[in-house]
Symmetry: C2
Subunit: 148 residues, 2 copies
């Protein structure tokens, strides 16, 4: 088991490379049917007639993929107390069936309080074929150091 990474171990400017996630059409449609059942996410005919010319993933799905890649690649080793805030999500380009998503997590700010906690602000960018599709600005609360 890897030793946990605490707020005191993190520095602004640190960049983490994320793994890959392929967006399969079935999953794209299934996710949207449950969580974001708008025609252009779930119906190929409506999607074909839309400005995007085909099915596009729900932004919530892209955001969930971002979180999965980030937890597996980065946060799983961090002493996270909880996600605190999402300050911004930009949907830069549509995500389509078959897209292979990867990206980076960059630590942008660190703020310590007097309760052994660190608020870590993070910029995450997801890309497909090197082009940004999603950019998020989030903040999570970590233990600043081990307790006792």
């Amino acid at each position: 088991m890897t030793d946990k990474i605490y707020g005191r171990d993190i520095e602004p400017g640190q960049v983490y490379q994320l793994g890959e996630y392929t967006v399969e059409k079935d999953e794209l449609v299934e996710y949207a049917r449950k969580w974001d059942p708008q025609g252009f996410h779930i119906d190929e005919d409506i999607a074909a007639a839309s400005p995007y010319g085909g099915l596009i993933a729900s932004g919530i799905h892209s955001f969930a993929i971002m979180q999965r890649l980030s937890v597996i690649g980065v946060y799983d080793n961090w002493a996270v107390i909880a996600g605190k805030e999402v300050r911004d999500i930009k949907f830069l380009r549509p995500v389509r069936p078959g897209d292979v998503i990867t990206g980076t997590v960059t630590v942008s700010e660190l703020e310590f309080d007097d309760r052994n906690r660190a608020l870590v602000r993070i910029i995450t960018e997801l890309t497909v074929d090197g082009k940004a599709v999603l950019r998020t600005d989030t903040a999570s609360l970590l233990h600043a150091a081990p307790t006792k």
Copy 2:
């Protein structure tokens, strides 16, 4: 079939009441296993020892529930082109197994462009037992009026 609601039909200050969604424990854990596999979302023992004292839903899950209730209750009748931006998500209180979520969608701003489109800014608040658990500030692009 209901007539679509266009940007021209919407006014800042309009408030829509959302339906209800019950967060079952199995779904809470299953969602987090796939999209946000952090211990305090998926493991009852880790969760019990956490500052929250028990399982809490992934914020992405709460955000997805927000979108589901909003699409079914509001956006399904709107001439939406696409979600554009999430300017802010605040996780105000933890969401726990068994919680019954409802809330409101409030139109906060409308901006028309010269391409028959309206950018609609929306404040959505989810509540459990009358207490706010999630507040989002999002913007979606709508057709301003029917084309032809």
